[in-house]
C-alpha cells in the first residue's frame, strides 16, 4: 500500500483563483512526480523533482503552474490562476530513484467552477 499523502482530497476554486495542493512522499523516496489525470483517463506528466531540484517540467507547468519540494516540508503544486480546463485529478507519485517503481497518492480532485 502506498504511503504517499496528498492534501486536500478535494479542492473547489473559481476561475482565476489560486489552487494549491500538497504531497508528502514516502519516507526515503527522493524523487517526486506530479501528474494530471483528466476525466477521460488521460495522464499528463507535469514536473518531477529529485530532492529539491527540478529535473523536468512541461511548458504548461512553466507558465501557470509552480511547484516545489523544500527539504523537511511537503512538496506542493500551485496553479496561479485556475482555468476550467484545469479541473482534474492531480496525482503525486514518489520513487526511491529514477527509472524504478513509482507509488501514487490518492490524488487531489480539483474542480474549477
Amino acid at each position: 500500500n502506498s504511503k504517499v499523502i496528498q492534501t486536500p482530497r478535494y479542492l473547489v476554486k473559481g476561475q482565476g483563483q489560486k489552487a494549491k495542493m500538497r504531497c508528502i512522499p514516502e519516507k526515503g523516496h527522493p524523487v517526486v512526480f506530479w501528474y494530471q489525470q483528466n476525466k477521460n483517463n488521460e495522464f499528463k506528466f507535469l514536473i518531477n523533482f529529485q530532492n529539491q531540484e527540478v529535473l523536468q517540467q512541461i511548458d504548461m507547468t512553466e507558465k501557470r503552474f509552480s511547484a516545489e519540494c523544500p527539504s523537511n516540508s511537503p512538496c506542493s503544486l500551485e496553479i496561479q490562476s485556475s482555468e476550467a480546463g484545469d479541473s482534474a485529478l492531480y496525482l503525486c507519485a514518489s520513487s526511491p530513484g529514477l527509472g524504478v517503481e513509482q507509488y501514487f497518492g490518492p490524488g487531489t480532485r480539483l474542480t474549477v467552477l
Partner: protein
C-alpha cells in the same frame, strides 16, 4: 499520436476466468512497463512491472507477457475475482536519464461478474 495504447476500453469476464488486457507502444526507447490498478476515488496502485530484458513476469495471479519485437505486452489475471473489477493502466518509461516520467495508456475497465 498515442505512445501507449490499450486496445480495449472495457472488458467483462466471469469469476474464475482469466482476464487478458492488451497494450502496445510506439517508442523503442521505453524499457520499463508497469501496470497500475485504479479503483474509483483512489490513486493508481502499482500492480506488477516488467523490464524490456524479460519476456515474462509473474506475481501471484498476475502475469505480464512482453514481446519486444512486436512492441506489445499483455497482463493476464488468472482466476478473476469480483474484487478485481477496476480500471487497469499500462504505462511505460525510459529509465535512462533524468526524466523517467511514465507515459500511460487510457486504461481498460475490467468488470468481473459472479
Amino acid at each position: 499520436q498515442q505512445q501507449v495504447r490499450q486496445s480495449s476500453q472495457s472488458l467483462t469476464v466471469w469469476e474464475g476466468e482469466t482476464a487478458i488486457l492488451n497494450c502496445s507502444y510506439e517508442n523503442s526507447a521505453f524499457d520499463y512497463f508497469p501496470w497500475y490498478q485504479q479503483f474509483p476515488g483512489e490513486g493508481p496502485a502499482l500492480l506488477i512491472a516488467i523490464r524490456s530484458v524479460s519476456d515474462k513476469k509473474e506475481d501471484g495471479r498476475f502475469t505480464i507477457f512482453f514481446n519486444k519485437r512486436e512492441k506489445n505486452l499483455s497482463l493476464h489475471i488468472k482466476d478473476s475475482q469480483p474484487g478485481d473489477s477496476a480500471t487497469y493502466f499500462c504505462a511505460a518509461s525510459e529509465t535512462g536519464g533524468s526524466n523517467a516520467k511514465l507515459t500511460f495508456g487510457k486504461g481498460t475497465k475490467l468488470s468481473v461478474k459472479s
